[in-house]
Symmetry: D3
Subunit: 340 residues, 6 copies
């Protein structure tokens, strides 16, 4: 097994402390995160050989972003250093009926401005056996559509396994543009990951009977979605995260994995949300770990859901948990008794 390379944008994440509203006080918690970087950190935490690719300017803030990945053992040696700014986002934690809010300031970032010629995929894919990107990567700019296309072509040529988290972002592109681009890219993808809304927004496949706010998980409806996606694009695996929001604090969480033969539905968890952002990425990180380690489908989806269940209890985009902790939860210990 070679390296798992994930590719996308990492941003400075600014959050008011202590559940305050944005700039209610003058303190911000500054960390870093982004869909594909979050996946790389998950993988490194489980002991996988993870590398991350992006483009960052040559200043102290961007260096700190790189350092924050090295902290977890992610290989950052492929990261390009050019451009003018690192994308930034503000996040405000929700409480009960008040939703969490995200304000993006990511336009004109170094990665969005990077060009096709900046990426030598032959060299970047050296030693790589798995490539992961998300729907956010091409949504950053037209340049990034082209860059991602070239990455996919190169990956295919080298026999690299490709996973994609559809991850629709309405403020980055329209559903029309998303579908135009992503439908072209899907044939290159082996493992397709979606949440309860992405499949419709990004690929036009709608769950018939989803009640995402009603506290009820509609498995059958998502089986149909998975089935249709498999039929349309020939994925090896389709994975869907299933979240119902009771309030900003209380969610129910489960996952479904279709391996072409069977539908595997995980245990569901009643989650008390400590930090919601990065939840989907931690599912992706868990799933890629499981599949790249040849877990059976039923175990793979349980691992991914347990990993992402734990993420909701951890502050920041990164899922700071060990293999042992995921295994313990997956093994049934969910009572939260003190571990001495």
């Amino acid at each position: 097994m070679g390296k798992i390379l994930t590719f996308g944008e990492i941003m400075l994440r600014l959050m008011p402390e202590d559940g305050h509203r944005l700039l209610q006080t003058n303190r911000l918690e500054a960390t870093f995160g982004g869909g594909e970087a979050n996946v790389a950190v998950s993988l490194a935490n489980y002991g996988a050989d993870a590398a991350y690719l992006t483009c960052l300017p040559n200043n102290a803030v961007a260096q700190a972003a790189i350092n924050s990945l090295r902290y977890f053992g992610v290989d950052t040696s492929r990261i390009l250093r050019q451009g003018e700014r690192i994308g930034t986002y503000y996040v405000e934690k929700g409480q009960a009926q008040r939703p969490s809010r995200v304000i993006y300031d990511r336009k004109y970032s170094a990665i969005a401005m990077a060009k096709s010629e900046d990426f030598d995929w032959d060299k970047l894919f050296d030693d790589v056996s798995w490539f992961h990107f998300t729907g956010i990567t091409p949504a950053l700019s037209d340049n990034m559509v082209e860059v991602t296309r070239e990455a996919l072509i190169a990956a295919k040529a080298k026999g690299i396994t490709v996973s994609c988290d559809l991850n629709y972002r309405k403020n980055l592109w329209s559903t029309a543009r998303a579908q135009e681009v992503m439908r072209e890219f899907m044939p290159y993808v082996n493992v397709c990951i979606a949440n309860e809304e992405d499949a419709e927004k990004v690929l036009g496949v709608k769950a018939v009977d989803a009640d995402v706010d009603g506290g009820k998980l509609c498995y059958d409806s998502y089986k149909e979605v998975a089935d249709k996606l498999k039929a349309d694009y020939g994925f090896d695996y389709v994975a869907v995260t299933l979240r119902t929001s009771i309030s900003a604090n209380d969610n129910r969480w489960a996952g479904l994995l279709f391996d072409g033969a069977e539908y595997h539905i995980s245990k569901s968890y009643d989650i008390h949300v400590f930090d919601r952002v990065g939840g989907g990425d931690s599912f992706g990180g868990g799933l890629i770990y499981a599949l790249s380690n040849k877990y059976e489908s039923a175990k793979a989806i349980e691992f991914a859901v347990a990993a992402s269940c734990l993420k909701h209890s951890i502050q920041g985009d990164f899922n700071r948990v060990t293999l042992q902790e995921v295994n313990a939860l997956m093994g049934g210990d969910s009572t939260g008794r003190v571990q001495r």
Copy 2:
């Protein structure tokens, strides 16, 4: 529509951080709050032209109180600067079976010591079309009873709409004194606001079958209260907030508005309490905004209750929410899903 002027005491509010008990650590969060100031901030946040009147000494702490109101766009130009101290209160957040606790240190404050001759109501009411006070204002001192009386007489003379939140405070006056004073003032009031205990304590009108700790809201009982209040004092509107406390963290919250013709009962919300203090004031702020903007009664009570539901998710006395946020919740979006 002219300015909405609110009148009362604003205090320095000192709270231990992070859910600690008082002085468990050496850090205090210092903000400002007070029933009528809280209403003014709510109104300014919704875009109304709100002004606030009080009396504050000429020092840096009092100046910060004024600045904290200007921050939200409240007109503070009428505030008197004299006297020796700003009232202070300590608040400790409750957890589960441990209740929140408030310790007042507000005696001898500049506003409590202010005298009748310090207030030129003719000038203070310039451009004002709505006047709001609470039962706390006259409770501060005998001087303040006199000052409030003069304000009410002047308001009446100028055709200004008057609203009053009964807001009984047992450590400021007895129920006997409260009833003596407030019964005299009620005929000047157009809009009467009360919580589930105020009507009894301040005006002697008791809900027959209220079970405030049992988690059950007894609407019929409060309809009778509203009916009786209307009959006794001829209010245009009687509004009652209905809270049941399951624990310090979990409350149920709803409201009732009697417009003389019909009883309008709002949706009820299951609240996870982040900061309880100022909850009633945010209801008043919402209600005054709605009524001064000629909302229909049913919509007015929904607006006020949605606004105050959100307040419970926000730290500090002030309700830091926008019109859009209240409308979104009132419109039915209470699942707390991330807003990106």
Copy 3:
């Protein structure tokens, strides 16, 4: 009634702030705690004459441990100053399915290294009428087994009432060694306190049908345990805390007291856990207060359980509550309404 002396190890307790994982940020909250010290603080808070005995090195950190006890009025004049280090432990708060974690670094501490000849029990027991230790004390080292044995012999000789919280710690000794030592010590004990696992681990008495993770409290099973303990060792009182863990945040909590004549089962509380560590000690503190003040059994167990219910809402090992607060909860006020 003389002094109540508690004896054991107090440690520096280091916890990440704001629910973070260990060293996720560079800030740690530094407080002090330890089973027997926690009991002494509870007792001092209720107005009892509590003293604490341990051994601590002569440096600024250890001095702060002593000062933190004096803060609450605990008599620290018996504490020995010698040795090289104060034990330390790290605690990370759990969230939902993620359990709280404790990492101990207490080996080679001053108290663990202290020797028999360092303790002059005749002098240390001066004015003492009640002596409290836990199963942790002898578990610290073979030296401490010997020291504890001598303390018990001296206490017996002086007619001092002895209480013991069995408190099994698997990382300090094996169940085999624990049973060997503690079975020898039990005949000296008047009041035996255990949680739902201790009786089995420390004395080999297993509850037949305990379902500690299922959210159901199995009283009958623990009555049998209490009965067996009484029969084996002749305790005056056997008290058992009954916790069921639904998640790291949500526990149910109750207690049972067997006074040789009757089984008294307390009210049970649905606890929202703010800080779980020290919960059992706060039960012990409440029980010793109640019994040493000659409360009737039924009232004693209610006091101990109410006290420890409140502890779960307070950060740190120490139960920072007053007699009035425990009485209020025991008296039925558990709705968490604001106290102004």
Copy 4:
């Protein structure tokens, strides 16, 4: 005397706490600042009627910027709300031989992208008697050159006094472009403010013998600069701040005012730098206050220098001092004795 309107960019300012390097910890202090906004806050603090004009997007971060100005009583009603982002800058405090560092992320900000047609100067100058801008404003973009030009023409037409702080920023434009633009603008300016380097960089007038790092203030050299500037552009007043840097912590600070007749050199201060950023702006704020209040030249320069001396002792861009405090220092009380 009408309003004093200042015009430019206000940015989010992010600074590590406690003298740390950037992102050494995960906490940032978030405040707001910008040359012209800083001047407006100084003026409001002295009681002047100050207004601020910029362009900001419609999000919570930009709203906080506006609120932070209202806090001090600055009139923000002219501010345009459009565009996508608020400029941001990071600042790291220096220590001794390690200089303070500023990283700008201000490109593509709402004000830089604003267009000529967004500004209705006739309306914006309503009630305005003094207009202040700096060399940073036109440096933001070619659009801003055009907008500033139109502002100056309109100001001239209305007889508004114009002040300009040359404020060269090498990362925004070249000296060539700066000189091209600013030489065109200077004839509209009544009061020209420069630091020891600006005159050379922006207008090509070099001090012959300035030793800015040597701890020696070369007054004669700067007299010549002032003389030359007056001769070239016909300013009513030329003011120059004179800073010598001994280390990041220790500076010497003085000022020179040439009123066409005489050179007035202020007292010099040995400054212990607490926060250096905004020091020049606080000089501008003091000078405009003094001149608009018809202070004599000698007193005006003393006021401006005393005001800016105090700024170096205050964290953040804004000079949080009162008229009384500036007067006290100007009056000779510089020993820092406790004021009780």
Copy 5:
């Protein structure tokens, strides 16, 4: 040697963190302090048997004040619990030319309102051999003048040594009233402590040639003051602290002790001020420790000055240093080399 009892007011002390101005951020550091309490803490830190007497209300804030004294081992058992409020003061740290500022909110405090009959001096002086008060105590109210008078009469009757720090506070009383009261009290005093201004303000004895702001210590002038005080009131000892303020950060500090026979002038220290408040009290604490332990005069003044030199490096009113640390500095080690 019996207990040393100090008597006066302890206040809640609120200070912005990190050198900010008052309420520049919403965080305040809350500690406790007051002239006589500070002396008691110093004494306890050196191992003396110190007790403190004041009057405090029965609430959680006042309890924390008491606990903060017990923390250091001060005997608080004599403290009266009655009245309504604890005095409060705000302090803002100065920087360079910006002075530290203190805002008092101490009027109507429990101790100021306490009455003669609340104090049973016979009982309060039990076991006491030294009594210390300051000029602040009688300045609090007319009641306190009476109470202090009775204390002095009782102390005299019991042969207790009395020390007094003149400590003039201009916002509490006029120099006229101060002189009226204090001249009456001086004959009861054995050890008189004054700073460079007190003798003039409180007793009308002016130093002829003091240049307190010029950085030069005028010893001869203060010798005359000491001589005159001794002559007028017959003190056993007159001690004077000599401070010159170069800036808020830089002071020079020395002391003079006249024992009736000789004038002893201490070493002088160049102080980098970390926290100035409580500096005089730490001198008093050191002096009382030295004299009550029969140090020779020359050594006593060196001890007091070294102790108070260290205080300026410590945050908060209390002098958190050990006997060893004072001895080390007094012994000549002032280079600040790391102690490992």
Copy 6:
């Protein structure tokens, strides 16, 4: 050029925030540091290929130590994971006359308990061309003497350059034992680094006329020391740091390098100390970087002294500066002017 491997102990470093005394508040800043780890971080920051070797237990605190090194790009792959505890130290920052204090709690740490057979030097030295240790490493335990001896023998055999910072620690071993061990080790060392006291304590070579507290640097005296060391042990280079302490805040700092041919004395710097700990290590890191990059001696000592001058302005053990920053200071820019 291969890897530079440094070997020793890394500890958890706990420091009170904001210049407080130890446990004056309940917050500690937790970072990591240790002489040899600090050198590795310096090297990695300059772009060198640095690796670090130690032994750490398998828990979350030790993992954070490793992560904190990976953050800077240090290769941690050789670190052994075994044993029970990570060493800990407390540090309290000094102020003026109050010295910084360090309390060690490092006994029984994993590295001190590690044994000879745990280290396979043949494998550990793979790819290594420079090996660095300090006098602290063998001082940890007798085991570590043996381990270090084996490392030196292996290094010699492989032709690896060896540097050693003598770094005497009096609480770890006596000067007698230090001299016994270190004299044996010195013949293996190519580059010997010492501070003004080490040569005497560790190797018995005393500077004749050093006045470390008098603010005067006695170069000649240290030239003799260097000469003698060279003569005794045949070092290629002898480097000596020269510190004079004026106060805890103010030091003077310079360095001397003897390359066998000439004595090179660096520029001296007046340092305002922000954090003193790690100052010597940052000198070592700079020197090793310079020498391993074949800098001429005069430039090498300037680089090392400039690097370590900057360290004193940075919080924590690690020298968080870039090559560019050291070069800038070495190049003469020491005025601390803002870098925009």
